[in-house]
Symmetry: C2
Subunit: 336 residues, 2 copies
Amino acid sequence: MDSRRNRQVVLVYRPVGVPEPRHFEVVSSPLPALGDGQFLVENLYLSVDPAQRGYVNDENNYAPPVPIGAVMRAMAVGRVVESRHIDFQVGEHLYGWFGWQDYWVGGPEALLRRVDPAQATLSAGAGLLGINGLTAWLALHEIGRPKANNTVVVTAAAGAVGSIVGQLAKLAGCRTVAVVGSDEKGELCLSQYGYDTYVNYRHPLDEALAQACPGGIDLFFDNVAGSIADTVIRRMNLFGRVVQCGTMSIPVWIPPPQGPRIEREILTRRLRIEGFVIFDHIARFDEAAAELAQLFKQGQLHYAEDIDTDLALAPQALVDVYEGRNRGKKLIRLRD
Amino acid sequence: MDSRRNRQVVLVYRPVGVPEPRHFEVVSSPLPALGDGQFLVENLYLSVDPAQRGYVNDENNYAPPVPIGAVMRAMAVGRVVESRHIDFQVGEHLYGWFGWQDYWVGGPEALLRRVDPAQATLSAGAGLLGINGLTAWLALHEIGRPKANNTVVVTAAAGAVGSIVGQLAKLAGCRTVAVVGSDEKGELCLSQYGYDTYVNYRHPLDEALAQACPGGIDLFFDNVAGSIADTVIRRMNLFGRVVQCGTMSIPVWIPPPQGPRIEREILTRRLRIEGFVIFDHIARFDEAAAELAQLFKQGQLHYAEDIDTDLALAPQALVDVYEGRNRGKKLIRLRD
């Protein structure tokens, strides 16, 4: 048994909808000794992501829910500080499923990507070159397939994924339209993320969309679902593509909420709607990260971070993300 | 002016939902003389298709609605009986937008496909080698992309499209499951169309689907939309494909009916849902028809027709199709 203590954010109650601080507790436990083939990761940056709501709910998702009493599932960038695995050396930086905690012990199964400090800052490894940038790059290019002069609408457009999607679509020669929940975020989209225009969904959305997209919509990158998506879909052009990347506006899916049916829209507009989960594409992470890192170095991508520095604040940070209070990729920095 | 009279089924009232005989009248008018570049087609087989509902409704669709007072838009197989166009010879058989009427006058813009009597019967040119077979072949292969051992669910499975889809999916090595509205149609699916099993949606569908598809559903060829589709989609496997080929179970789309939202299903199951309209694929009609004709000649495709012989019955035939009373492709034969 290692004498160091490991602070962990543990799930103690099963939430319905978005988890809140009361669903978690911070506990401190001793570190287990390393087994053969294991290594010890000291976490540097913990990721705070909308998808974490799905990790703790008893609803259909792409992984079983976090058990009660277990450390909160999360991605993080960390440093190998001890190793009994031949492929992992002390001092290396990794991005993986290391949880909301100080330390992680285990084998290569938790690895998402090795982080190269020469590509960008370590924190970018958890965002721009991590889940958010990789999602933006792979979902936009694999499913959305932007063409020059396409009109592209992005929801949660100022968010950690949406802000990158908008910039990548612009680099692909598209006209980009941000959907946001405040004029402040809309201005951010124009000034920082290169969007051509924005609409604020707290005002009548259909009229604003009609004005913002006089030629209709070719590609809809949707992070929110719900009534906003209903409105966008009804303004899509023939052969439009919809990337279903998130469902952030709908807090509870059991029972499924009702909405206007879209089968007729899909049929008559020949839409293609496709779901995207980044973990299907791990084999392409390094390729996409290299592209993103190069664009970033060339000054062609703007990327913002919103960093807290207290492990105990992680649950509140997740609530903030759901309520749109973050200004860039939300991270918890534990050490440098 | 030609002295022959042309009987025409004309739209006289704009229906909401499925058109009925009272929305039409049969009129008789003189034939116009042929202009340069025009030809005269004598209709032999008129097509009766669920999609015709959309042609007469003021709802979003893939073509403007038939004007009041105009002949009902319909596909037909006919014979050229006069021609002032160098590419169209008297005696040739054509499949095109010739309407519910005895004769059609115009240019090549109405042509869908030239019919080769050596490939199959002339009536098959309006069904198996026409809209229905072409839809089945192209939608299944282009969007559905069946793989060996996939479980494929088809709605309106005994219909003119569904019956061919089931057989083509079976030929591709799939397990095929018919969704039908009666046990009589279910038995037809088993005995005539090679389905492995069927479920009757008038009984509790979810339990029946669970039994019929113990390994989940990989490909959903949907002709009906609505609550049947809701149930099927919730039993789909990861990376499942949905071909949205029709929306026959929903009679009225303005305002859009409500249903359970599917964004979360699309996301977490990584579904791909795509709308299919056959007229986007005219360039591939001859290729697909040749494949279908060959399978038919080899006895690998069973194809049924349900033929009336009175032009005035066409509107009632459309109601019958919507109510599932036809037994095979519905046609009106005007002459041989």
